[in-house]
Symmetry: C2
């Protein structure tokens, strides 16, 4: 069933008012009619089964049929901080991270980033994230944070109970023992750009207490490393009945 | 250091003869000279540090300096059988699977594959695999097998000690308990095309004893699922000193 993401302020007295581009999507792309059912999710992770009651050019009103207890989110929040890479690579990475359950994507200006000019692509990127979260049936949208530098990222350290960075050197700690003893809620993993971290960056990360980790014995590209990290963290923490 | 893949028949009396496109790569792309060092790997997983002794238009002769005991391969062989998908998606998947340590990529014609015509793209695809294996510093090339149908894949069953298929239903077994009790050498994981498996295909897989598994609570695209599977299997089995 088609899934739409709204803000909780759009819910009043059992009625959800859908606005903006989702109206066009419901009306013209999906060609839905009165009484058709959709899934609506808000930022508080409420998930509603709703029935369309009115459709106009400006808004679609949806009556809540029931709350759905569909836990499709991971029990922990994973922030991937990623050295700025080219546009196409960024788009592929955010699409797949959104599918894999990532909480936040934090792009970082780094010394060896090939991309030096920061153009705001957040509108386009947020559209990709929205589509990926809908398609993968998530209950919330992955957060796309504005580009910052490494110093500002390090200043965010206290938000996380575990701060890691991916090292080329295979003789550092592997992720598994660190994840298996982790009992917190928020993990930050920093992944370098194409050229890796500079020596100054590694020194700054080490000094701030970030733990270097290896992602395995093969050298992963900068656009593959985030997918490996997000896959294995999901695998380690996801709860299953079987 | 630059890495080249050869056949073990190219090694005689401590001298390796490099031929074909690698000659062009050494001579014109890398612009290497006599006495430059390279890494050479053969299909038996021998890894040599070699020194260039002659360069002509047809061949490069390399003297073996020493054998390197660089184990960059996983201790198990993972075959990903994947419903045929579009060319660009296939190329992305094989590139990332090669980086992540996959042993074999086996494309399968399936009922719901959008791609119906099988054009032989193996030359181009093998080039992508070669580049990815060199760049990620693997000791062997991922095998790209010719396209077969599901019946023929099921007939290969005895080659594997564990045969799995990725199911949309989250109420089937998760990978983790299956992997954690696995003691064999060869794992096969079947992943459907964009439209998933048909009912007939699921019935055939069940009948043949393939185990349905969930890849998590989010629905992964057909090109994301192989990367998740390969990442978590690598994570589960890779041996680290730390």
């Amino acid at each position: 069933m088609q899934r739409y993401f709204i803000n909780s302020t759009q819910v009043h007295n059992n009625i959800i008012t859908i606005i903006n581009s989702d109206v066009h999507h419901i009306k013209n792309v999906m060609r839905m009619k009165i009484d058709d059912e959709i899934i609506v999710c808000d930022e508080l992770e409420n998930v509603y089964l709703g029935k369309i009651i009115t459709i106009s050019n400006e808004e679609v009103k949806v009556e809540i049929v029931k709350n759905i207890d569909a836990k499709s989110e991971l029990p922990i929040n994973v922030t991937i901080a990623h050295g700025l890479v080219r546009r196409e690579k960024t788009e592929e990475v955010i699409r797949r991270l959104a599918e894999l359950g990532c909480y936040e994507y934090q792009p970082i200006i780094m010394n060896r980033s090939i991309v030096k000019v920061v153009n705001d692509k957040s509108e386009r990127q947020n559209k990709i994230i929205k589509e990926a979260c809908e398609q993968s049936q998530r209950n919330r949208l992955m957060i796309l944070s504005p580009v910052i530098d490494l110093k500002k990222l390090i200043a965010r350290k206290d938000e996380f109970s575990l701060c890691l960075y991916a090292d080329f050197n295979p003789n550092v700690a592997h992720l598994k023992p660190l994840l298996q003893k982790f009992t917190g809620k928020n993990i930050l993993v920093v992944i370098g750009p194409e050229g890796g971290f500079s020596i100054e960056e590694v020194t700054a990360l080490d000094k701030a207490g970030f733990i270097p980790i290896t992602l395995g014995k093969r050298v992963l590209r900068t656009e593959t490393a985030p997918l490996y990290v997000m896959s294995v963290i999901g695998y380690e923490f996801e709860k299953f009945s079987l």
